[in-house]
Symmetry: C2
Subunit: 315 residues, 2 copies
């Protein structure tokens, strides 16, 4: 291995995507415990909530409070999801470090979930960029292209359409974009193709990947995206997240399994594996009977890991 390890960022999204999908309300105090524990384990990017109307997602109604609390943690980038310009204004007011506007590449999923066409979301991106610039804020804007591989309503989505939307979001003012496999339609071949093509077109402005493990391919897809040059991955502690169309199905890629894979491969994630397993246990304790996922916690770390060096390599 090289003396200086390459960095990979894991963005923890359980407080937003995880809790949104499983529909469980966790008290703000417990969320703050998660946040502090995750930061303590080395996580430096956390999506803390969503500025959607509280009546739609009451479990995320404390997002502004979490953003405020996040300021106390050294070097923490606290991000939020925003559904539209109104959400962006709240995010700017609350001082989010980054706001993520989701767009569904699947027209049918977009109409069903966002009640807008993808191109109407691109229009909203332009208004959000104007509002950010007018505010003088340094809040980053990420366009998150969901159902980038397909969805249950429409089936597979054509890479050309994702490429078009990626460029349109950037042209409309997004600072960066990310691609999400929202419901498990990606596979390593499609990931290599789509991430490769989008990266060839927009370079490092393709800034992240968000994989669900719905059909078990989460980490294999992650590996394919890593090979395509992606260096930031979303994940959820205990693999929460689920899939509204498949009760009990596995959710987001598990943070602890992802951190273990990257660390084992010789990358630097900044995450302490023993501590992140403790954070998983904390989260599991708060979630009670919610189905949890991930494999590492059952087996534990390789026994001789510590003596062989941080990533088990002796050289």
């Amino acid at each position: 291995m090289t003396a200086r390890k390459e960095k990979i960022i894991i963005r923890e999204v359980s407080l937003r995507d995880g809790l949104q999908s499983i529909g469980r309300t966790v008290p703000t105090g417990q969320k703050l415990e998660w946040l502090a524990a995750a930061h303590g384990a080395g996580v430096r990017e956390i999506e803390v909530g969503s500025f959607v109307p509280a009546r739609l997602l009451p479990q995320l109604a404390d997002t502004a409070e979490l953003l405020r609390a996040a300021r106390a943690f050294d070097g923490l980038q606290a991000s939020v999801l925003i559904p539209n310009l109104k959400g962006a204004e709240r995010a700017l007011d609350a001082g989010a470090d980054l706001m993520l506007l989701p767009l569904s590449a699947s027209l049918q999923h977009s109409l069903a979930n966002l009640r807008k066409t993808p191109d109407e979301v691109v229009g909203e991106m332009a208004r959000i960029r104007a509002a950010r610039d007018a505010s003088g804020s340094r809040t980053l804007i990420e366009g998150g292209i969901g159902t980038a591989f397909g969805c249950t309503l429409q089936g597979y989505v054509a890479p050309d359409e994702v490429l078009r939307l990626a460029q349109a979001l950037l042209d409309a003012g997004a600072d960066r974009i990310s691609l999400a496999d929202t419901v498990g339609y990606a596979d390593p071949a499609r990931v290599a193709e789509l991430f490769g093509r989008v990266r060839a077109a927009v370079g490092d402005r393709l800034h992240g990947a968000h994989f669900h493990d719905t059909r078990g391919l989460g980490l294999a897809n992650t590996l394919a995206a890593l090979q395509a040059g992606v260096r930031r991955f979303d994940a959820c502690l205990a693999g929460i997240g689920g899939c509204p169309h498949a009760p009990g199905a596995s959710g987001n890629v598990s943070t602890e399994d992802l951190a273990f894979m990257l660390d084992s491969m010789g990358y630097e994630t900044g995450i302490d594996l023993e501590r992140i397993l403790q954070v998983r246990a904390l989260v599991a304790g708060h979630l009670g009977d919610v189905p949890l996922h991930g494999a590492l916690w059952r087996a534990g770390l390789p026994k001789t890991r510590a003596s062989a060096g941080a990533n088990g390599r002796t050289a």
Copy 2:
């Protein structure tokens, strides 16, 4: 995709590795149901048992009977594990298509589990090859190098040692070798390195990979081995297999998730995904409260898969 799809073989090992690890005795009639159902779903290589003394593994005592029954299935390669020359003689008598002699690359694991050094196993391989040749049988001999990445007793294993043992097994008369990550010490970087080096040295005589999903990396490791040129993978229905050192830990890579990944990527496995999910349900029914693994069965196949073609691709 190309018009003609590349073939990948999945060898089903639940009747041997799965049942051995979980210590559950399944009646022979139920095993024959699994075997018939797996064959019906398109599986063409099945490890049906092990010729170890029945007092050690009573759940595999019906191996000869399963081998006999396997002859009735068109195009089925029925293989068995053999611990030594005596097991090989039984396999030759019973007409196994292939016999796999396991060797542990970890000296400590080898001494603890096989009560021999790796080099003593290489010596046994030479005697087995001589017996096979003397018998005039066409039974193939595979040397299966287990703990090829490490084990709980010894920690990580040096690739140089695996390379040396691979060559030694072939020199001693193995027709082919395979590499196994027995307890979840592999990661995609190590897989790329080790499989790449062994393949460079012995070519296609490196004939298979056997991954456990102990720490969640089973399919990511599979992808790395696939990229290194491997075209045959062991797997277990419902991901059974477990790990004797970690009660409840996930076992072998799940056959149904693996078949789904390969099929989605455009490879031809010969396995019908809907039918293999039915076989999984059959196995699950027979196993009762044994912990099962895998993700696909919970979410099901992508909804529009059939209409989009066998692998979801429209082109």
